[in-house]
Symmetry: C2
Subunit: 208 residues, 2 copies
């Protein structure tokens, strides 16, 4: 089976949009995407990259086009509930450590949904530990247990190691997808991700 | 009929790749793309934008990914003859003025093919007026007539006006496509160009 990795950080609205489209891709392709948390800020430091908003601060036409493509994506996939977060940018370190902890507790899917929704449909200041805890509890998740585990040294270092792994694979931003060993950057590459999966699946069945 | 404009500069290898794919799109959609010359250097000055190679000079992972996507495009569309031009970057002002002149002489398609090929399949230093003239003659084009017309004040100012028009429409780079009033940037948006044309054509037939 060809694996598809989805590298995300809750701070990326583009990762949120990808997250919203992934279920229909999973259903169509018959494969589960592996959700891989990594720190976008750390990846930017390692690579020298920055967000489009920073990189194109002085190119208003480019930024207007990025917003247009964002809106087009929303319309293409019928995503009706996205709202820009007024607290942006938000420090995602605690949320991301929590993702590693939730994964160890086998609660990752519910955790990822709750946190992405808090960030990009509910306009919450999710960098605030109390608001994060409240959001998790509302979703029926054991906030205290997740928080405690997220402070464990092995969880903290796991998140850094994952970020370094993503860097070592050639990435420079989020969302990044890997289909087998093939890298695709950005939500706009989801069609390429799908085609690559189908092609690699075909090739691997032929070579058996 | 919904119009599709293709804004190009011979200095852009991405515009060359788009140019190679346009004929199959035209055949499939039953529409001719309108080729619109504009100065990429001028557009960069107006918008504050720069080429990816400049903007991401210090982000090697990003540049490596751009090269990968370039190669993927070439493979997707079976473009076997592209060769990077060793004289790059090349000043395209004379070539672009010539495009306006060739258009007045109703020789645009042959001129565009000859110059794009000189740039991106034949490794020629096309910024050199003699090499440009030679390339046009080899293609059976009246090099002297095109060159003389390209020096006419109205041709020179036409090229600047076109570049300003492209800027005023919100563009920031090349290749840029307009499908009716809808802007699409980059060769990777050709599938979106196609979908937009089909959608707008459907909508305009319904509203009649």
């Amino acid at each position: 089976m060809v694996a598809i990795d989805f590298w995300y950080d809750f701070g990326s609205p583009n990762a949120y949009l990808a997250h919203r489209v992934i279920p229909e891709l999973e259903a169509r392709l018959g494969v589960a995407f592996a959700y891989r948390p990594a720190l976008l800020g750390g990846l930017f430091k390692m690579t020298g990259n920055s967000s489009p908003v920073d990189a194109y601060r002085n190119v208003p036409h480019k930024l207007a086009y990025e917003r247009l493509e964002f809106q087009r994506f929303i319309e293409r996939y019928g995503i009706s509930d996205f709202i820009m977060n007024p607290h942006f940018p938000i420090n995602t370190l605690q949320m991301m450590r929590g993702a590693v902890a939730a994964s160890e507790l086998e609660l990752a899917p519910a955790y990822v949904d709750a946190v992405f929704n808090g960030m990009w449909t509910r306009q919450r200041q999710m960098g605030d530990a109390e608001i994060l805890a409240e959001t998790l509890e509302e979703a029926g998740l054991p906030a205290r247990q997740i928080f405690e585990l997220s402070q464990a040294p092995h969880v903290k270092s796991r998140l850094l190691e994952e970020t370094q792994k993503l860097y070592a694979k050639g990435a420079f931003g989020i969302p990044t997808f890997f289909v087998g060993d093939e890298i695709y950057f950005g939500k706009d590459k989801l069609r390429d991700v799908e085609e690559s999966f189908l092609r690699q699946t075909r090739e691997s069945s032929l070579s058996r």
